[in-house]
Symmetry: C2
Subunit: 622 residues, 2 copies
């Protein structure tokens, strides 16, 4: 227990050091700070904004450009009908309890979780059976129904944390920000909770744009919104965030991927469902084998898992603190074929940063049903094929006599029967003359007799197959990835005189907010002119830089730029050649003034490594 | 009159041709189309999304990187207090009238405008004096108060356009999308109507980040929202749009700009206030002279006007259909020092696409007042200076006796007097013994006698000057710029056989959605392999491309790619060398397979022109 507490304290101290540095150097700023802020809203300050735009540019390069994806950009304001179809209006909720006197709201599961954790951590006299019970509650927390949560809160006599007042029963709170479109107040709308819906509703146009060919992927980067009940975990659970989502549309009968061999040999930490259930740990698996053994459902899903691994590690995520965890059966939506989360370990534990789900045909079907516009794909046969077709013909006259005003609902329900259900009804009608039939839209069971419907199978010639594509969706929480990147890049080393602990971010050049700083060694006009000359050539190469002409000591200026994660510092200490210092190794080389920009360009573009240029230029010892 | 009508018809036909092409090729898509859409919301489809991200990348390069601006990224969800301080909660409104029977809403000024235009255009028997009256109404439309608009609507007997029902009196409708932050319903919030406020509230931190030095600029790219009453003008007036805004903070006593000489020689269409009032047209003026003559208020404003000119014309905006129009006195906010709009002419007329305003200290003062956090800058003096200071000492006892409960308001108003007002009061008190004084917060005039306040001037030693910076704000409507760019780039030419009119967008490579297309001349494996090889090298260079392996005729494939505005087409017609065709000239050169990507790279990066490479490679005639 003590070891656990010590570790928790270390994590907390580490997190404090990281977030202090991040906030002091304006990587992020609590939004509207001068008005005491709003929980769950953060600004990206200048270096944070630069990191974010580097991450997004790399995402575009790595996914959109490399895979020839169709990128779209849809509005955040979304009419209700779209989110009704997707299920968000009815189901995108958290359970909330209210302080019965003050009206303050809390997430019901958070209160129960805090209570159990507190008991386990702080009550030294806790009987073993009680401890086991609390542990069990924590394990099943996410699966508890509203009633079960309410019962536990009552049983444990949990009260409002701020006032100790009694709490209401849990009730669902929709997490979407609601608004109204137009002035009349009759068109409810929401700020989108994800960007995916904008792609689904455009499927028909995008399929046409792609020459009516599958597979293809569409992508979108944009803001999404969740009106969290009580945001915690700082930068990880926020009310507005940037998502980057891919919807890869594929024939459900062929989920192979032509480029799968490119990633098949990659090996990384995976945590299959079976291993989780049987209490094992995540283990290194070849993604090629995972697909071959059926651990991962299909090649396309496997391909994206591999590409996500490459994306995250190239950004600078530590591969030993990255794992792909498969959803347990109870975590997954009923329609999903398979689902894996890229989880990154940070001081808050293992955090879901990318979700990679095979959502089958669910989303396109939902919008087809609601809009009446068929979101389907076609496969033209080279030769027409004989296909057995189910034919259901409701006899409207008979049904009208029997069901009167409900006739239409019964007709529609009969026509909507699947093959299995229809053939069972046919058999029952033939043997018994009548059959019980559940009509969803009436929510009752009616009796159908054999005069009311004819069911048969016929052979038909078909020239094409019409089907709803499956969608495989990698969805990236950009803010979470960036936060984890901050933690994984954060380092501490003693100052030159050993008096102080210096912090620095070892970002790869790809991610670094600024690629280099330029320091005239002393304040004089000649050196400043050289610095400006170098600055002009850096701009011409499109390399971001910062000039620091303060008279501060060179050591302090290095410390400042290290703390921002700037990979290279150029010190102007003569008018002909200057010093380039690399952040992590602190090694220095001497380069001619007119070569500086091209050397920096070479290394940040990845054409050469620092090691390569170290050989080519004389080193410099300070 | 007929000439005017003909021109209107031509414009309409041109606009139809452009928007048909744009919609057919998915440059944009009406949002949520399968649900019959939402007025004023549009998606960027794949080529539109690529154009947008090219425009934004160039904006970052041209402004943020070149000028070392501090880019930030703030949330769209904004608490009420911030927009209360900025004035949006009270004043960001349009006047609306309601159909009294159906409740349908209309913009009051739109109805009056339509009525007057309709009369002028369609009533051949309109008496000259009536025509003059309607023209006068159109001229002053934007200045009419709610009462005046209501009176005109009554006078002209204007009814609801759809039903002919009577209309309500005009009343203000706030254009912000409202929502609620958190679950309790007690924290109202809005979707931001502009990105600027996020920068203003961060002034203190950004100033510190910049080493407590002025001037500096902060920038932000992001979504903004306006809940328009009845959006018209297609892509130009929308409910959600991307803004790119710069807030350049400067000492109000020194608005010079060190880089002004870089733009001073530029000459372009300007439309100063004086010329508009006296009925002249826009004319070509050197920006250097405009600043020297005081037409433009200061160098920094002039510098940004010049930079905006360069930005827009480099994107492909026609310089003859771009003008900088100065705001008339009645258009400008009372606090603004000067304001110029970059207006671009398109089929909808002259459209405001960029606003460049010197907003003085207004915004920072407003947030200082509301938040209590001083948003100020400091200038340290090298030597302490003797400064004459105004000292106002209200005598609270006397004021309390005279004003009782209102004492505090009077005290605060006295202390808030400016130097001029205070010295006038001092003179009046000395000569007459009492003075009339308007107290804003009481909204009445009170009498102050000489025992109630002492006013004097004293010499004081000061070590620094504390002041509120002025802000110069260039604000870019990205969607409007892109739409105008579409119109300015749209061209028509006859097909090869002369049977058809072919459309193409002559985008500069910088803007083009895809940089090149790759066509195997005929469908065979060898050519397709060469095409894939070229594709790989294009990807390695970061060049976006599309492969078209359909068997369609090469002419049709050229037409398709021209319509997307793709500058180069690579036709694979042998395994060693291929043809590169330039879109606008249709000229073709032959280049070795392994050189293709680098030639394309050279031209799209602007290192060479098409003319340069034409000389270097053999031309090809098809």
């Amino acid at each position: 227990m003590e070891g656990v507490q010590q570790e928790a304290q270390n994590r907390e101290a580490f997190r404090q050091a990281v977030t202090n540095t991040l906030e002091r150097r304006l990587f992020y700023i609590p939004s509207f700070k001068i008005y005491r802020g709003v929980a769950g809203l953060y600004d990206y300050g200048p270096p944070g904004c630069a990191v974010k735009s580097n991450v997004l540019a790399f995402w575009r390069q790595h996914f959109v450009l490399e895979e020839n994806m169709l990128e779209v950009d849809c509005p955040c304001v979304t009419p209700e009908v779209v989110l009704k179809a997707s299920g968000h209006v009815d189901k995108f909720t958290d359970l909330m309890v209210k302080d019965e006197k003050t009206g303050t709201c809390y997430r019901a599961d958070h209160l129960l979780k805090d209570f159990c954790k507190d008991k386990l951590e702080r009550d030294p006299n806790l009987p073993a059976e009680k401890a086991a019970e609390f542990k069990q509650v924590l394990a099943v927390l996410d699966d508890l129904s509203s009633e079960e949560l309410g019962a536990k809160i009552k049983e444990y006599d949990i009260t409002a944390p701020d006032t100790k007042n009694p709490l209401s029963a849990p009730y669902p709170f929709n997490l979407m920000f609601q608004t109204s479109i137009g002035p009349s107040g009759v068109s409810p709308g929401y700020m989108r909770p994800e960007t995916a819906q904008g792609i689904f509703v455009n499927f028909k146009d995008l399929y046409y744009y792609n020459g009516n060919k599958l597979p293809f992927a569409a992508a979108q980067i944009g803001q999404a919104f969740r009106n969290e009940i009580s945001p915690r975990q700082g930068l990880l659970r926020v009310r507005e965030f940037t998502l980057a989502e891919i919807e890869h549309f594929v024939d459900p009968e062929d989920k192979s991927h032509p480029k799968f061999p490119d990633v098949a040999k990659l090996e990384f930490l995976m945590f299959p469902r079976e291993d989780q259930v049987s209490g094992r740990s995540a283990r290194r698996i070849h993604i090629g084998e995972a697909v071959a053994q059926g651990i991962v459902n299909n090649e396309t899903l496997g391909y994206f898992i591999g590409r996500v691994y490459l994306f995250l590690t190239q950004l600078g995520i530590d591969k030993d603190r990255l794992r792909f965890r498969q959803h347990l059966a109870n975590e997954m939506a009923h329609y999903a074929a398979d689902c894996w989360d890229a989880e990154i370990e940070c001081s808050h534990g293992w955090i879901e940063c990318v979700g990679i789900a095979d959502r089958s045909a669910y989303d396109l079907r939902a919008h087809t049903d609601k809009s009446g516009v068929p979101l389907v794909a076609h496969e033209k046969f080279t030769e027409p094929r004989e296909v057995e077709k189910l034919i259901i013909v409701p006899v409207k006259k008979e049904l009208g006599l029997a069901f009167k005003g409900n006739q239409r609902m019964v007709v529609e329900a009969l026509e909507a029967m699947g093959e299995k259900e229809a053939m069972e009804m046919k058999a029952t009608l033939e043997s018994k003359g009548e059959a019980a039939f559940h009509v969803c839209t009436l929510d009752k069971v009616v009796t159908i007799n054999k005069d009311m419907v004819s069911i048969s199978k016929e052979m038909k010639k078909e020239h094409q197959r019409v089907f709803t594509p499956s969608v495989i969706e990698p969805s990236f929480g950009i803010g979470r990835i960036i936060y984890c990147l901050y933690e994984h890049s954060f380092n501490t080393r003693p100052s030159k005189d050993g008096d102080e602990q210096m912090h620095f971010f070892s970002f790869p050049p790809l991610v670094a907010p600024i690629k280099c700083t330029v320091f005239p060694l002393v304040q004089n006009q000649q050196y400043e002119e050289v610095a400006r000359q170098i600055a002009r050539s850096l701009t011409a190469y499109g390399i971001s830089y910062k000039i620091d002409i303060t008279g501060t000591s060179i050591g302090k200026r290095y410390a400042r730029t290290d703390e921002l994660g700037v990979p290279f510092a150029i010190t102007v200490d003569s008018t002909s050649s200057v010093t380039i210092r690399e952040r992590d190794s602190k090694q220095q080389i001497r380069v001619n003034v007119d070569e500086v920009a091209s050397v920096i360009k070479e290394v940040i573009d990845g054409q050469s490594t620092w090691g390569d240029v170290l050989w080519r230029y004389p080193t410099h010892s300070s």
